[in-house]
Symmetry: C2
Subunit: 430 residues, 2 copies
């Protein structure tokens, strides 16, 4: 086992690049990438870094040269032979050949496209422009690089034993959470923490700790490299970028209203079973479900990623009931702002009424809150989003106005088209 | 840096003997050994293991074969060249050639004598008989072996991440203590924790953590191997075994009353400065100081190793004042049952009145209290004492009747000879 503290101390990371593989990314990115590669390969998309935590002055904390070094390193990566073998030969969600030979040939040849980096006062402007299936693969590594460089800036000032004790405290903290999750009948959790992880080595430790501590309660990890290295299930389905880009491409209000369903229609053609998970909140969950075609009610589950999670689950249950489905046969995946207590609470609340699963992110792989002076290692809210497609801005509303993004006039239009009224504002921590 | 948890997990210690060197022992043992080698080389002494914590069934927890293996390994050790060089060439307490060439020649040739091990119900009877300078060197390694084997029995049942978290918690706990000790002006602490350490690797970690965390406030370690490896001061002076054996050898009550002073008279001839530390409690501190010759008041300090430490310090201060000495020039060393809070409290209480120093033992190197279910790693009170000399039983009274040892009739005689009245009983935890 790697002694993380010592590795951090000895090398100051010179030999440890932050992102070390093309598959050091979330599984759903690869699934979506294949879908985009098939359905919208020529769409030109811009991804952009958005630091929702303005009080974290990234450009003051992170040296621009170091940032470029890490991003350049990512551009030097290509899929390794063993990684390709794993993607081609492994079973994902019970299915062989999840990735087509055409996609794999393309992916093997891929290098990530150029990035654009500029400092604007205390923040970085970091954007990625290009064809959708290429630029979309920047999101996760870009976030991981910024999160980890910000952490390294703090760690660099710490002594050898301070580091050991820092990691000791973080380990203890996670283990106590694992102990809280243990033994709840049927409670299953997956690691969704790649993008905002403290570091790769730390995520790898967290995943292993979950495996030993939770046994069969641990469902797997969204991180493909760790799933491959540790023989775990790779977990994930789809994300907001699909409806956001599809919607931006819509030429009329009618086409816009239809766009989110087009996404799932394409997905329906490609996937079945546990991969048929609806992410309904991009433009408001209630309206989305009300207007949804009946075939969507036949899907396996719903992922709740914004708003009050219990309220979201109630909406999902009511919708299934209204469509004549038995909620107990359905899967609700909670994936927003989770921590151990919340997971246990939601599990107790819903486990007898639906199948429940959890995608645990930031507070699994980056809970260094309260572990340093001034809390300079506390996780913060950084995202990297598709902001335009073929020159048209994207919009996200979600079930929490604090997570909304896009130009104000477009937000108003989307609210009108999708019939979104007043929404409850909820603080976005991570 | 060694990742202790992984080492524990990977090897189940087959490659890590518990005691790995002739100088993996307390510095004062070597000082006393030289004194005994010079003054009483032919005295036949028996050392015996005494488990004051009868509720810890050592023979149930520790496999006899494993115990023999570890003890046999110790008998196979001899002083290494680099160790001899260090003892011959290093400066101890500011003095070169602390160890004479005669002693070093003898020590280089030494192998530890045979041991006698027998199981008696749930405890082990472990004794060492032979010439005093040889058998006395068994005390520290024998205790370290039993403490660590008892720990291993518990650790063996733990998973890989459970172990990582166990050590993470122990590290966090110690670091918090170090932070509590930090910054108190003039507060100086030494490691006295070899005999009841959790393990060698753990003691080594604790010592390094003290060094980084406390800087100049960390005075050094009693462990010679660690002092040598880490370039630290080796700390220690003398112990109860000297007056206990000298007293057992006394043929009359008059000789008995004089014996503890004979010890210090021999010591006076050999050492000066900070090595002239009185350990006054073997047969009651008050009586010992009252009857002490005046030249003892000229010594540098007093070590308080039983009874209420603050009361002991007050007695010492009053004694110095009565003998016309300035207590502010004197050193009080606290070494009994210390933990961080107590150290800070005693420091605040006495730092302006005397020079204060601390020998921190078990709760520095073995505080695994509360870290496992049923607290099966909590330290316990194990000692290994000289029980007879030339066929006559030894006696220890100390300032706490719960620490007294020896045949009841002899205890009575000693109490009479040394004028010891009622004493306050204090719980002995470690």
């Amino acid at each position: 086992m790697v002694d993380i503290a010592t590795r951090v101390w000895n090398h100051k990371w010179k030999i440890d690049p932050i992102v070390r593989s093309m598959i050091d990314t979330d599984f759903y990115k690869l699934l979506m990438c294949q879908s985009v590669f098939r359905n919208k390969p020529d769409t030109q998309v811009t991804f952009s870094l958005i630091n929702r935590s303005r009080h974290v002055p990234l450009a003051k904390l992170i040296d621009e040269g170091e940032l470029r070094e890490q991003l350049d390193h990512i551009r030097s990566l290509s899929l390794r032979r063993g990684e390709s073998t794993w993607m081609r030969g492994n079973t994902f969600y019970g299915k062989r050949q999840m990735f087509t030979p055409e996609f794999m040939d393309w992916f093997e040849a891929l290098r990530l496209p150029a990035y654009h980096l500029e400092r604007r006062e205390d923040q970085y402007e970091l954007t990625f422009e290009g064809s959708w299936p290429e630029v979309m693969l920047w999101e996760i590594p870009a976030l991981a690089v910024l999160m980890e460089l910000r952490g390294r800036a703090v760690l660099n000032e710490m002594g050898r034993f301070e580091l050991q004790v820092l990691y000791a405290r973080a380990m203890t903290k996670l283990w106590e959470k694992i102990e809280r999750l243990k033994g709840h009948d049927g409670l299953r959790v997956a690691d969704f923490g790649t993008r905002r992880r403290h570091s790769f080595l730390w995520q790898d430790w967290c995943v292993q700790a979950m495996g030993e501590g939770l046994g069969a309660q641990f469902a797997g990890t969204s991180n493909c490299l760790i799933a491959k290295n540790r023989d775990l299930e790779a977990i994930g389905t789809n994300a907001h970028e699909l409806p956001m880009v599809y919607s931006a491409l819509a030429q009329t209000d009618e086409a816009l209203a239809q766009a989110p369903y087009d996404v799932l229609s394409d997905w329906h053609d490609e996937h079945d079973g546990n991969l048929r998970i609806i992410l309904p909140d991009t433009y408001g969950t209630e309206g989305f479900l009300e207007r949804a075609p009946d075939w969507l009610a036949g899907w396996t589950g719903i992922r709740i990623d914004s708003g009050d999670p219990a309220a979201g689950a109630e909406v999902a249950i009511k919708w299934w009931q209204a469509r004549g489905e038995d909620p107990r046969e359905k899967l609700v995946i909670f994936s927003d702002g989770l921590d151990a207590d919340k997971i246990v609470e939601l599990h107790q609340q819903f486990a007898s009424r639906v199948k429940v699963s959890f995608g645990w992110g930031t507070m699994l792989t980056n809970d260094f809150k309260g572990l340093t002076e001034d809390d300079r290692l506390a996780p913060f809210s950084l995202v990297c989003k598709a902001v335009s497609a073929n020159g048209r801005p994207t919009v996200k509303l979600s079930d929490n106005p604090n997570k909304a993004m896009g130009p104000a006039s477009e937000i108003e239009r989307y609210k009108r088209v999708f019939g979104v009224g007043e929404q409850e504002r909820m603080e976005v921590v991570v």
